[in-house]
Symmetry: C2
Subunit: 405 residues, 2 copies
DNA sequence: CGCAGTTTGTTCGGTAGCAGAACTAATAGG
DNA sequence: CCTATTAGTTCTGCTACCGAACAAACTGCG
């Protein structure tokens, strides 16, 4: 209630910025038509934005009848978002401008020490990227960091992040803020991947969809009504614990979920081993099993088929509960075309009106792009959305490959 | 975007009404403190509301230091909501005042003819209730009707409503509007039940919870972030189609879901019949099986245990995907304490941090109360929320049993 | 009883953000 | 060059709000 304290100051600045972002160069008159605000108001707002350096005059229209119009655009490098995808093995950093174009990218192996060492690694990568792009650090206004775990916004810790030592015992958010000197948002990496797929990937424009990342483990992200579903303890999308596949009441299922034990890579390899007469030898990697299946080997094919069947049941479960308009399959295993096709083929066998299924289009970049999306949205809210608590920014149209300045 | 056309007229009227609703008699000064608006503004808004008849002076404070304050309250009978719960066998109607108190209630057997006959039955019940409560029909501003099916807001039809003939072939919403001469909102009955449980039942105040209605069939409702999850085709919560229990890839599972075939009443009875040496006799009703289990009969106990185990898996599936803070069990079977207890006992066996489980507290009234909740929220939005698209009304504290005038 | 202190409510003046009408400016096409 | 058309500005005015000053009403204490 007391959030109505500072009331609708500049209610429309956001709307103007949005129009400015989406219809690249646009005149004030057109903005007025689109937003429904009066020409007068738009002129005023645009003047303010221009004075503040967010917007700039970039040209004039001509060709049509009537007076030619001055067109404006958002100044793309007035502020930047640092998008970070922290994985167990690699850190990926992308510096994104106000339009969402990735201006600079960098990747490194994640420092195995974890904790403060990784925090400083991320800080260094971001600042280096900014420096290399000729961007002063004060223009990097927010950093969004995807982590393989469940960030707890109140303590700044990251729970369930076995791959990054100490992240569950320190205030990661605060540490990063200290290094980067800007706001930092932590988010689960799969959640970012969903956002990425919605913005520029396989789920463009949809507002209800699910994402399944199948690889070493299995994880999911769910978007409902354009909003990420986090759940009560930030544990939404823990698909590994779906109660089928292995026996969910086995003691082992409490540690590694019943579903995960069978569909994820360890399960696939184990099934192949048993099927081929299971020596206790190291066994086959999953890509090898896939290629053998491609070559027609019956055992490999059977294992892949079984996996697809399980995955289809996972998809069906999500569909029964949340009824998304699309399920995007990602991760090293899920995004393989063989897998997506099989799942798609199986679904009509267990759902009367099967969900749409698509392979991730952004692959390993999804989380990075999602981080940029969230960062941009937050940035616009902070800068132009004084009131209107959490308006969703409808982001600019995906413009592939920014000028790698 | 063009929704910003008529802009923030009376941005705060809603906030004032909300305060007025929740802290029963309240002075203007206190409203000012709570909302953060100035005393001056509050006085103005309250004057308007009073002139329009929504609010009335009801007393003065005294006892504290300082000038005594005039206190105001919402005029409870300035407008009414007709809440309707249409079931296959019974129609239940409740007339609710602005505070949410049920002023009048009525129940009848649903007319088996369906279609227009049922529409007129509902209309008659509502108008009779209003008349009996001494309320002119013009004060009934909105009707919320819970139906056993999936209402399609664009066509006004109700899909998947086998129990009400013709409802899938006519514009039910329009027909009801014609009879009642007020706005009509159709909503799935389970969805209403969830809302009811959130407002006054087992899920009070929670903003992420699931509801499972287990009886003749099985259905679910999911609330995430305070918002109902409808899904892409209004088919969220079709728990019957969860891909376990029976074989999901059987042809039969396309018609009646794999999960529903086993957990719902037909499945329970079938399992009991096979277990007791399955004659093809009519068999036992579910309540009878429950009472035999209560009496210690092994076969009945086993069947109930199995059902609970299945239900627990259903709960686990929802928890894995959406991670609600509570799962409410309802329906004639789900809300039995034996069932809730068993499920609660089983969950630690298949989830490392088990969800809370509770039996429905409102029972068959849940949908009616949920309808009232939605109606009130809509009403307040329509009356006092000129802008601010779909603000959620935080409803007044549950005040049990209104004066049955 | 009367005054201090405290709280309520009103009056008055002022501001931000917007609309709308009237007007000026620039352009294309004939 | 004139007309139709579109872009942008100026001016007036409204609504919803704030803040300060002030009036009104009450409690409690000396």
């Amino acid at each position: 209630m007391s959030r109505a304290l500072q009331l609708s100051r500049q209610f429309s600045k956001r709307a103007v910025m949005e129009a400015l972002l989406q219809q690249a160069p646009i005149s004030r008159a057109s903005i007025a038509k689109q937003t429904g605000l009066s020409k007068q108001t738009i002129s005023e707002i645009v003047r303010h934005l221009e004075d503040a350096g967010w917007v700039i005059e970039t040209g004039r229209t001509n060709g049509q009848v009537g007076r030619s119009a001055v067109t404006y655009e958002v100044v793309p490098d007035a502020a930047f978002v640092a998008a970070v995808d922290l994985g167990g093995t690699k850190v990926r950093v992308g510096l994104t401008d106000l339009r969402g174009a990735i201006v600079r990218e960098a990747t490194e192996f994640t420092r195995p020490e974890g904790g403060q060492v990784v925090v400083e690694q991320i800080g260094r990568l971001c600042l280096q990227a900014a420096a290399a792009a000729g961007v002063g650090r004060e223009r990097v206004r927010i950093a969004v960091v995807g982590v393989p775990g469940a960030p707890d916004p109140s303590s700044g810790r990251v729970r369930f992040a076995p791959n990054i030592p100490d992240f569950d015992r320190m205030d990661v958010a605060a540490a990063l803020e200290a290094v980067l000197e800007c706001d930092v948002l932590l988010e689960n990496d799969v959640n970012l991947a969903v956002q990425g797929e919605v913005w520029q990937g396989a789920g463009q424009g949809l507002d209800t969809l699910a994402f399944i990342a199948l690889g070493t483990g299995i994880g999911g992200g769910l978007i409902v009504g354009g909003e990420l579903v986090r759940g009560a303890d930030n544990a939404a999308g823990e698909l590994g614990f779906l109660p089928f596949g292995a026996d969910p009441f086995e003691a082992e299922s409490l540690r590694t979920g019943a579903f995960e034990r069978l569909v994820a890579s360890a399960g696939i390899r184990a099934r192949y081993r048993t099927l081929t007469g299971g020596t206790d030898a190291p066994g086959m990697t999953v890509p090898e099993i896939f290629s053998r299946a491609g070559a027609g080997e019956p055992a490999a094919t059977q294992v892949i088929d079984e996996t697809a069947c399980l995955l289809a049941r996972g998809v069906a479960a999500i569909a029964a509960i949340a009824n998304p308009s699309l399920v995007v399959l990602g991760g090293s295993i899920g995004s393989r075309p063989e897998m997506t096709e099989r799942v798609r083929a199986l679904l009509p066998g267990c759902m009367s009106s099967p969900v749409d299924v698509a392979a991730s289009r952004l692959g390993p970049q999804a989380a990075l792009i999602g981080a940029a999306a969230i960062g941009l949205s937050h940035l616009h809210n902070a800068l132009f959305g004084a009131d209107a608590p959490e308006a969703k920014l409808s982001l600019p149209p995906p413009r592939q490959a920014g000028s790698k300045a």
